[in-house]
Structures are given as C-alpha cells and as structure tokens.
Subunit: 341 residues, 2 copies
C-alpha cells in the first residue's frame, strides 16, 4: 500500500477540490477533515470520499459556494438550510452557532437540513470542547439498518457523538454508530474476503449471515444490542427523530432521502460547576477506568477516542497507508479534472 504524509494528502485533496471549482475555504476545510479522519484510522471517512464528493458536484447534488442560511432562530436554537453545500461547511457553521448561543444561554440546539455528508461527528463535538463546553451531535442518512425483529432496511447507522473537556488526561470523544457495525467495516471485510462476526448483518430473508456479500444483496445491518437489540433500535429511532424530524431533513426510511440530517447541541459547563473542577473530576474518572483491572485477553481499558488518538500519533510518524484501489480512484478523479497528482 502506498504511504502518504498527512500534508501531502491534504495538498492533493485541496488541489482536486479547487480544480472542481470549490472556494479556498471549502477546499481547505474539507481536505483538512478528510485527512484528519485518515490520521485517526477512520479511513472510511477519509480521502477515499474524494471521488464521491466530486461525483456529487458533477451531478449537481453538492452545490459549490453554497451558504447555509438560518431559516428559524431563537437565542437558544437555530434551524439551518444547508442549501446542499459541503456537509463539513454546514456542520461547522451549525456547531459554531450552537457554541455562540450556549456561551450566553448555557445550552443550545442547532439543526440543519439540505446537507451533504458531514464526515466524522467528533470533528464538531470537539469544537465545543475547545471552548470548554460539552458537545453532542447526531446525524441520520440513508437506510441500511433493520429494526429489532425486522428484516427490511428502515434506519441509518445513526451515529452519535459526545465530547467532554478533560484536564491532563486523554481526550474523551465518543463517536459511535447505533448499528453494531458501520457499513464501511463490512465493505472492508468483503474486499479482504473475510467472514463477519455473528450478529452484524442479516440477509435479504432476515436470517443471520456472516457473509459480507449478503449485505449488498438486499440484507441489512443490525442495531447494537444483540438479544437486547431493541436498545440499539430505540437509540437509532431517537437519533432519526432528532436529526431527521426536528431538523426537517426527513427520516432515513423516506424515499429519495439523501445527505445528513443534523442535530447539534452545546452545553456550557460553567452554569453547573467551575470548568477546572469539571476537568479535575473527569480526569479522576478516566484514571479510575485506566487503572481498573483488565479482563483475560485484554491488556488495558481504553477510553473513547483513545484508539484514534494513538493511531494519529503513529500515522503522523509513519505516514498514512492507502489501499491501491483507493489511491487509483483518487488519481483517476484528479486526471479527469486535468490534474496530475
């Protein structure tokens, strides 16, 4: 697999988006967040998205230079029409708006519709953390997850993220799908010719399957929970309502659903306790977890965000490996835009 320095990938990505007609600001932000995902090891949200974003532009689904506009607003909330711009630009504006409002009014919710793929939710919840706030974000997208006890695709993977300010200890960034696996991980197993663990998917008849191919032949992902899959299903529905109905973006099951419905919230900690005290206590919590004894077969307890942080340290040193196929698709996309990368 070819290896790339982060800076190099950012530059390639920037050039491609510029060649496709994006503004400097758009090309810069999108490239930064895609490469950040690769650094964290979340390659399914990394530069492999470039070709599909470019296709979106060419199909008119992604509008270059579009400005997100506020269509409904209070001092404590806002609803944004993203006008089908880059999801990253809309997501950033949504969380910036939430943070500004929470600074003066403790807690705020901002939703957005007509929004393309925003990428990793943790990029937005961490914006709140940098302002010493709690960040919460959830999105919905296309249907691919079956209800608990159901066999049809009715929900999206419904990711949710919580990020909290910490003191000296590791960052705390939770960013998870409410399905047992993201679709991207099933695709990776398919490409590697591997079987899936039990409980990830059902086939088109609603029976359990460990063959990744079955997902793409009418199957569905399962919600988290196994026996208690009604929990993952319930969380998935709650996320679909917050990010699909409250946001006006539409639910995952709806025909012609595309892009992300967006729900973002910021909570100003200082209204409850001094921020230093909060950080001290969250550090204590993290230390207690890290110092607790592992199960047989585990070396240590990892805090949400820790695996990604470690991967980032490694990839900053060693470079980012891209599968040959991903790289070729990027090169191809660049060529069509008249670039030689």
């Amino acid at each position: 697999m070819p290896l790339f320095r982060a800076e190099e990938l950012r530059m390639i990505s920037f050039k491609i988006f510029k060649a496709a007609g994006a503004t400097n600001e758009e090309a810069q932000l999108v490239s930064e967040l895609l490469v950040k995902a690769n650094l964290a090891g979340q390659d399914s949200h990394g530069v492999m998205r470039i070709p599909s974003y470019i296709r979106g532009i060419q199909r008119g689904e992604l509008i270059l230079g579009a400005e997100a506009e506020v269509v409904r607003e209070t001092s404590f909330s806002a609803l944004l029409n993203g006008n089908w711009g880059f999801g990253q630009v809309i997501g950033k504006k949504a969380m910036e708006t939430a943070i500004e409002k929470a600074k003066r009014h403790t807690v705020s919710v901002v939703c957005a519709f007509n929004c393309n793929h925003v990428g990793r939710l943790s990029d937005y919840t961490m914006m709140a953390v940098k302002e010493d706030m709690i960040g919460i974000a959830a999105v919905n997208s296309n249907k691919i997850v079956a209800p608990y006890g159901g066999k049809e695709r009715m929900l999206s993977t419904g990711p949710i993220s919580y990020a909290f300010p910490t003191g000296k200890e590791a960052l705390f960034i939770l960013d998870i799908s409410t399905s047992i696996s993201a679709e991207g991980r099933v695709r990776v197993k398919l490409h590697k010719g591997e079987k899936l663990p039990h409980g990830w998917i059902i086939n088109k008849n609603g029976n359990p399957s460990n063959d990744p191919k079955d997902l793409y032949e009418g199957g569905a992902l399962l919600p988290i929970g196994g026996d208690a899959g009604y929990k993952g299903f319930g969380l998935g529905l709650a996320i679909d309502i917050l990010s699909g109905i409250l946001s006006r973006a539409g639910c995952a099951y709806e025909e012609n659903k595309r892009g992300n419905g967006v729900f973002m919230e910021a909570i100003n900690i200082e209204s409850f306790l001094p921020i230093d005290k909060f950080k001290q206590e969250i550090d204590g919590l993290i230390r207690a977890m890290k110092n607790s004894k592992p199960q047989p077969g585990f070396n240590e307890i990892l805090i949400p965000g820790e695996p990604e942080f470690r991967m980032e340290q490694m990839r900053l040193m060693d470079g980012i490996p891209l599968p040959e196929r991903t790289w070729m698709e990027i090169v191809e996309t660049a060529k069509k835009l008249g670039l030689d990368v």
Copy 2:
C-alpha cells in the same frame, strides 16, 4: 402469585409511607409511580421497592419532607440539591423546572444531587411530552458494570430515556440501561434457577458466565454491544459524566456513592417546526416501522414503550401479580409500622 388491582396497591403503599411519616404529597407521588411501574411490567421498579425505601427512612438516608433547593441557576439551567428526599419528588421538580425554562428558552438542562432512587426515567421524560416537548433524562447510581475489556465494577447501569410527542400513533418512550441487562433481571433469573444468556455478565475473574450467582459473588454486568461493547461502555461513561459530574452527584466508581445523580433536559419543538407537523412526521415514522416486514421468528416490530403500554392494558384488566416473597416483605414492613394491610 397474589393478584392486586392497581388502586389497591396504591392505597397499601400510601398507607405504609404515611405510617412511616411521609407527607401526603410524598406518599401519593411515590405510590403512584411505583404502581405505574408494576402496571407497565417493570416490577423491579414497582412496589417491591417499598421495604427498601422504608429502610432508607429508618437509616436516615431518606429524609422525609425534604425540599429540593436550587443551588445554581440561569434562565436556561438549574442545579438542585435534593437534600436526600424521595428521588421521585426531586426528579419531578427537576423536570418541572426544565419544562418551565424550555417553554420560554427552547432548551434547558436541570441536574440534581443528594437524590434517592428516582425510579423509572420514563415517568419524567413523559412529563415533557405532556407539554409537547422532547424529554431526555439520564441517571447514574452504584457501580455494577465492567468497562469494555475490564473485569471490575466501575460504572452503574446508566439508564437513559428519550420521549417524544406523537399524534395518533403509539407513545414513543425509550427507557434503557446501557448495560446489556438491568441488575433486576439477573436477580429474577437467580430466583427462578435459570441460566443467563451469553454476554450478560462476567464472574469475579473476568470470565464470561451464565450463572446469575456469579454476579453476586464479585462479578459484573457487561455494557451493551457484545464485540462492540466499547459502544455501550462509551455511552455509560457519557451518562456517568452528565449525571454524575455535571450534577455534582459524583461518579459511579466513587467510594460511598449512593442514590441517583440526575440529568434532565427539555427541548421545545415549536422553535424548530410546528408541533402538529412534528407529530404527523413521527406518526409516519412509527407507521413505517410497524408496517415493515418482521424477521423469521418475530411477529411484528415493536416501538419503544409499546411492550410496556400493552402490559399496562393487560394489568389494568387482569390485575398486578406479585411474587409471594415480594408481597410478604411488604406485609412485614407494614406490620413493623403498626399497620395491618
């Protein structure tokens, strides 16, 4: 098993709390919510709690007539010192406060500390729904759940509830623990002499076990997720932070932790879209799920809150069955207070 009408159990419960010195308001509210839990089939949160609440009073852990006081407040948030009164009284005041604030300021968060067992979270999130708002609630309590990959008890079962207003369709009330099972369900299996499904608990050595006894001999419950247990662990930590640190109640891992740390939030839907439109869309979502095809082995798709609603209809007709042992403990508790129930 003896069968009781809801009204009869409410009266017995009311008399017992009155005999123990509770105010009319306390005895009435606590009895109402305990019996409501029994009606819904959530017997672990029902009248079987009466003996332990009375012991709490006698030990001085539950202070009769205590008033929850606001110790920190903005127009958008409040922090309550529950002064160790009945959790139900404190929980109700917390959500009432959140609703009042959200009416004028769209979204609000209210936390509480020094709070006894609040019971079912859905009782509070449904208060918001009755005011056409979204209700969110989470609590922490004593540690009994292991971290993902860990073998020590470090987190509580960390329940979270989301409730949303609906139109003509069934209620939508999600109320779930972030452990694969609540402790009460393991205890039921123990009493019945049954084995546990795989993945519910580990024994004191951190190995998987299906013997409910192992939980009470130094074992721990597991977070939801199975292979992806880092998701349930992450959600459990987020809930511990919101309901333990933001609330000043302390985290589950801390020595001498008792009672519930409380986090409640209300969101005023009208700031985003007309409430009628919201209800129409959530009805559409519910209908789509109900009309989707079930998996082999399932008859239908159930919406969060639906199993409890059906049980309530049944028990209102047929009565509430109480295990002999539960009933005897209630009778015993009543006798010690000089009552003949």
